[in-house]
Subunit: 138 residues, 2 copies
C-alpha cells in the first residue's frame, strides 16, 4: 500500500488541475499565496520524467509564478523541488516579501522575525487565481 501523502491527499485547496498535475494553495499563515504544483504520478526526480512531461510540469510552474506575481506583487519568487521527506515530485512556488518571517533567508531557515500576517490568507484572491490559471493553461 502506498502511504505517500501526495498520492492520497486530504483537504487540499486545488486551484487548477489536469490529468498530469495539480496546483494547490497552501494554508500557511506566514506565506499567503504559497502554492505547490504536484505531479499526479508518484515519480521521484525531474529526470525520471520524459522531456515532454518535464516541459509540461515546468510550464505550469511558470504560469503559477506569473499569476502570483501579477496578483500579489511579491518582492521575489522562490521556486524549489526538494522532496527529501516526500519523494513525490512537487514544486514550491513561494511569494516572498521583504518583511516576511524569513526574508532574505529561505523559508526553511531559522525565522528572522515574527510577522502579523496571520489571517492574511483572506488577502489571497482565490477566485481570481483560479480564473487566471484556467485562462493561461486551457
Amino acid at each position: 500500500m502506498n502511504h505517500c501523502a501526495l498520492c492520497r491527499p486530504e483537504k487540499e485547496t486545488v486551484l487548477w488541475q489536469d490529468g498530469r498535475c495539480r496546483v494547490i494553495l497552501l494554508n500557511d499563515p506566514d506565506y499567503p499565496g504559497f502554492c505547490r504544483v504536484v505531479w499526479r504520478e508518484h515519480v521521484k526526480e525531474m529526470t525520471d520524467l520524459s522531456e515532454t512531461e518535464r516541459a509540461h510540469l515546468m510550464s505550469v510552474v511558470f504560469v503559477v509564478e506569473r499569476v502570483i506575481r501579477e496578483l500579489l506583487r511579491p518582492d521575489k519568487i522562490n521556486l524549489a523541488s526538494l522532496g527529501n521527506q516526500v519523494p513525490h515530485l512537487h514544486w514550491h512556488v513561494i511569494p516572498r516579501f521583504t518583511g516576511d518571517a524569513h526574508f532574505p533567508d529561505p523559508v526553511w531557515a531559522a525565522r528572522n522575525r515574527e510577522t502579523t500576517r496571520e489571517g492574511n490568507q483572506a488577502e489571497v484572491p482565490l477566485e481570481r487565481m483560479k480564473q487566471r490559471l484556467y485562462d493561461a493553461l486551457k
Copy 2:
C-alpha cells in the same frame, strides 16, 4: 556600477558555459557535487525570461541533474531558484545523501548532524563531469 556577485564572479570552478549561462561547482565541504547554473544576464525571475530562454536554462539544469545522478548516485536531488539575497537568476542543483548534514531537511535548515565529508570534494570526478556536460549540451 553593478555590485552583483554573479555578474562579476571571482574564483569560480566553471564546468561548462555557453553565451547564455554557466554551470559552476561550489566548494562546499558539506555538499560535494553541489552545482549552480547561473544565467549570464542580470535577470531576477524566471518569468522575466522569454519562453525560449527559460527552456534553455531549464534544459541545462536538468542535464546537470542527470550528470550528478549518474556520477554521484545521490539519494535525492534538490533544485531551487531563490535569489532573495542575490536577485540574479541562478539554480541550485544539490545532490543529497541520507547521511548529509541536513537530511531530510533542506540544506538551509538547521544542521542535523556533523559529517565527516570534509575533503570529499576530491571525490567529485571533475573532468568526467565536464566531459558529460559537454557531450550532453553540445
